[in-house]
Symmetry: C2
Subunit: 243 residues, 2 copies
């Protein structure tokens, strides 16, 4: 039986989502718990995509298959009792056998959080502490250039050799709550480092180091030959995955 | 020269505020940094009061004396560069030599945070996760009985042998933000465990295990002979100290 699972995690103490030898990862913790529940049969988890080291998720989605029979409610409880306190299963529901957590994604929502105010110890792992001045109106203007279908090659690593780097961003937003700035992107898919590089460029523009026109110029460049400052991971959170 | 310092901390990884042998405490970290700055002369820090293990502070206040000459701005910078990332100095200002961070307190504000909704890994160290139902209107009614001047003997530890256990609570409030409930107390002073025991009783009342009248009854009891569930420390935060 196939299950669709919605879960959250605090990425601080993980070496990212994907299994890596001898490192603590989210995928490894999930597979360990599910394998135990699935009568010790090695159980694989397929998520909507990976997140990097120190990146968080409020509603990540994955699928997996179980041989045993268990109610959704009991499965959620069993998982949460086995998982460490920095991962939490929000819901787990039986789904059709052709549901695929990665291939069927319609859109994803990412939020990047900046703190322009006083450093706050209890938020230190969840925001990018930015103590220079930023022009919010410039930030609001420049982010809009990311909307639409573009080749985001300039915003991924030069070592990333994938063929198709065209993605669509349906919506962007800047949300403000006093000194906390939340930069939101909704798109059909995001590549490794793409959000952090887009945010890095926006910060350079809003702090006067680059110009608003640089967004368009880099989107038309279609190659990674210009250095962009990658914003640090702790400010990034996968907020939602839509199917 | 005497200084008044306002600072914040994430209590999660500390064994409370006060120095204890071979344990990591907030006072110890502050005194270590200040002693280093004060030309290695042993420097003592006096705060407005202690906080327990895992309890946080948004604006704690302390005073200390330095022999060296340094601007307030440079002192703040030096402190923050020496302090660990879970303590942060918000401001430090020269003050009169008779300022005393403990004796001159006019009032203190504490907030206790409950999460009645889905467990959220990134908030796990800052809220008390409460997954049974609570009657908010009962909570709102019963907290009001704490306002005024009362003998809070029944709300401290039976081992606490201090003479004067009369305190005044000027204001209480219940703030709601979806599933997050914040219980606020402003008073002229709070004793060890007092806030967590008041919250513990309020939760028992709002969950139907005790009655609203029990607040008054315990305030008139003037002794600790009845067990109250002490609410866990991670939900508690010292928000402000007024002089």
């Amino acid at each position: 039986m196939r299950y669709k699972m919605i879960f959250s995690y605090d990425g601080t103490m993980f070496n990212g989502y994907q299994v890596q030898k001898e490192k603590r990862t989210i995928q490894e913790e999930l597979e360990k718990a599910l394998t135990y529940i699935n009568a010790k049969k090695k159980t694989k988890v397929t998520s909507s995509g990976r997140t990097d080291r120190k990146v968080h998720a409020k509603m990540q989605v994955a699928h997996f298959d179980l041989d045993i029979t268990i109610t959704d409610y009991k499965l959620k409880r069993a998982l949460n009792s086995l998982l460490p306190e920095d991962i939490h299963v929000i819901s787990v529901l039986k789904t059709s056998s052709d549901f695929h957590a990665r291939y069927m994604v319609k859109s994803k929502e990412y939020v990047y959080t900046l703190n322009l105010g006083e450093y706050n110890p209890i938020e230190r792992n969840y925001v990018y502490q930015y103590n220079r001045s930023l022009d919010i109106s410039t930030l609001q203007q420049s982010i809009k250039y990311f909307e639409g279908t573009h080749d985001f090659r300039a915003f991924i690593s030069s070592e990333d050799k994938r063929e198709n780097t065209v993605r669509t961003i349906m919506k962007t937003d800047i949300l403000m709550d006093n000194d906390i700035i939340r930069i939101k992107f909704i798109g059909d898919g995001f590549m490794k480092y793409q959000v952090r590089n887009m945010v890095g460029l926006l910060i350079e523009i809003a702090s006067g180091k680059k110009r608003i026109e640089d967004v368009e110029r880099l989107l038309l460049l279609k190659q990674r030959k210009e250095a962009i400052k990658t914003a640090p991971p702790e400010g990034l959170c996968l907020e939602k995955v839509n199917y």
